[in-house]
């Protein structure tokens, strides 16, 4: 078969696998939350049923073009990230479309979905959406600053913008991981990771008790379903990006799932034990400790 067609087929397969991992993790996470609340919790496969149901509800309301495009942008950013991250190191087919300098593109993709969502939900004119968008953009931007500093630090350390190269440098043993060679950047990124996962203490964006559900307030039926198709893909893609940057990447699917799950659980465990920050508190948080840590990590590189 034509190599490019093979590549596309494998890319689709990758997206499908990632989506499934995300869905299961999603159900598992909610189970963890329930058990901490001493409840039995949902069935692990409930997210799948919810998705099917949402796809089979009517969509009735017309809010404008951007309203339609919002979920699509969001999905694009999730799928785009998956396609450009080298998922399995050394595997020709599961490196997908990664290329030299892909790290910059991925950083853009991470923000792109948020912007699309913001434009889409603002078009609905629903005040709760607008509040959610304002909070979300403020918080994501604040979390992005230390995140980019941490990434820059790794780029400078490896003199490369290619994720594949950064992963290859980390091969050859546990102690080669960025986690050990650049601990300050890793710590910064781990804090920023919490900020971008929208879990406690940084979940004021969706705040169901105060502003019904934040940006997606008006989204329903298949729009909501597209959003919740993206959610697991995006979360796992983001997690994998962090695994590649800081924890040595993965050489096979077993390693991939193990590392992704462990890292994912970091935000889940933090989420179960911490109460919610207000927006101003979380912005202040990100612009204090993680920001200073990020700057330090770049400074420290000069002396190593």
């Amino acid at each position: 078969m034509n190599p490019i067609i093979t590549k596309i087929l494998y890319a689709l397969l990758t997206v499908f696998i990632i989506w499934n991992i995300g869905m299961v993790l999603n159900g598992f996470t909610r189970k963890v939350y329930a058990r901490v609340n001493k409840r039995y919790g949902i069935r692990i496969y409930q997210p799948y049923i919810d998705l099917i149901k949402n796809y089979s509800l009517d969509t009735l309301v017309y809010h404008g073009v951007m309203y339609y495009l919002g979920p699509i942008f969001r999905l694009t950013s999730g799928v785009g990230m998956v396609l450009f991250i080298p998922l399995i190191y050394g595997s020709e087919i599961f490196s997908n479309f990664s290329f030299a300098g892909d790290a910059i593109l991925i950083l853009y993709f991470m923000f792109f979905g948020t912007l699309g969502m913001a434009l889409g939900s603002n078009e609905t004119g629903q005040p709760y959406s607008t509040i959610g968008v304002a909070r979300g953009l403020a918080q994501v931007t604040a979390a992005e600053v230390p995140l980019v500093l941490a990434f820059l630090s790794v780029f400078i350390q490896n003199q490369s913008l290619s994720i594949s190269e950064i992963v290859s440098v980390q091969q050859g043993g546990f102690m080669h991981w960025t986690m050990w060679t650049n601990p300050m950047a890793t710590a910064t990124a781990m804090l920023a990771y919490l900020g971008s996962m929208m879990r406690s203490p940084f979940d004021v964006v969706l705040a169901p008790q105060e502003i019904p559900i934040g940006p997606p307030t008006e989204y329903h039926g298949s729009f909501l379903a597209i959003l919740s198709t993206n959610r697991p893909i995006f979360a796992v893609a983001k997690t994998i990006l962090f695994v590649n940057m800081f924890f040595g990447g993965a050489t096979n699917w077993g390693m991939f799932i193990l590392k992704a799950t462990t890292l994912y659980m970091w935000s889940v465990v933090t989420g179960t034990i911490y109460p919610r920050f207000r927006v101003d508190q979380s912005i202040r948080f990100f612009l204090k400790v993680p920001l200073i840590m990020g700057l330090l990590s770049i400074l420290l590189l000069q002396f190593m």
Binding site: K53, S56, L57, L60, T124, G125
Partner: protein, 217 residues
């Protein structure tokens, strides 16, 4: 755009008597009268059954407490009853809910909001009435400010009796509703669309013309 070509500005009277002119292009409400779902009754079969199964196993409730029975919904979320494990979840916005629980008496004031919330829900949508108040008015049957028959204002799929119903009764009610949905009989939204004029007339008899948009999804 073809669909919106005969949109004209209209004047509505706000609850405090003030006249407001509404520009339809800036209005957030849809202009179309509801129509029954196309696939309803006409393409039964494996796909529709599968969809109905998914709909019945994933009931998202609009948490709208309208009467004293609302208090019984809270224990359902707590460890003792934990309705989540039956696929029942609470959503804070009507757009994402497919089950409206009317938890008891509806005062004239809340009826307006409830009708609007119902219309904003995507179909197929279901309504569950709790307590004797929704069936015949209960202890408020001759009250001047509550309505006494819910199914004159929106189609009700299932009632849960009691004053007030216990959480166990609610769970039994959910089971009943699931059976109805799976049998393909959860067609309240279509009934509402088919008898739209009658329902609107009943609503207006109680509410008067208070500037509620004719249709609000």
């Amino acid at each position: 755009m073809e669909k919106f070509k005969d949109f004209k500005k209209r004047t509505v009277i706000a609850p405090d008597g003030e006249k407001i002119e509404i520009d339809p292009m800036k209005d957030y409400y849809c202009d179309a009268i509801p129509t029954p779902r196309k696939d309803y009754d006409k393409i039964p079969g494996i796909l529709e059954n599968f969809k109905n199964w998914a709909r019945s196993e994933s009931l998202w409730i609009l948490a709208y407490g309208s009467g004293c029975g609302a208090i019984e919904m809270r224990p359902l979320m707590t460890p003792k009853h934990d309705a989540y494990r039956y696929g029942i979840q609470w959503r804070p916005t009507p757009r994402q809910a497919n089950l409206l629980m009317i938890s008891g008496y509806l005062s004239v004031k809340t009826l307006r909001i409830v009708v609007r919330a119902y219309e904003q829900m995507p179909s197929p949508k279901y309504v569950m009435g709790l307590g004797s108040c929704t069936i015949n008015g209960g202890m408020y049957w001759d009250s001047y400010n509550t309505i006494n028959r819910l199914d004159h204002f929106m189609p009700v799929d299932t009632y849960v009796t009691g004053c007030m119903p216990r959480p166990e009764a609610l769970i039994a009610g959910f089971d009943e509703l699931k059976k109805i949905i799976r049998a393909g009989k959860g067609v309240g939204a279509d009934k509402y669309a088919e008898n739209f004029a009658w329902y609107k007339e009943n609503q207006k008899k109680i509410l008067g013309d208070v500037g509620l948009p004719e249709y609000s999804w």
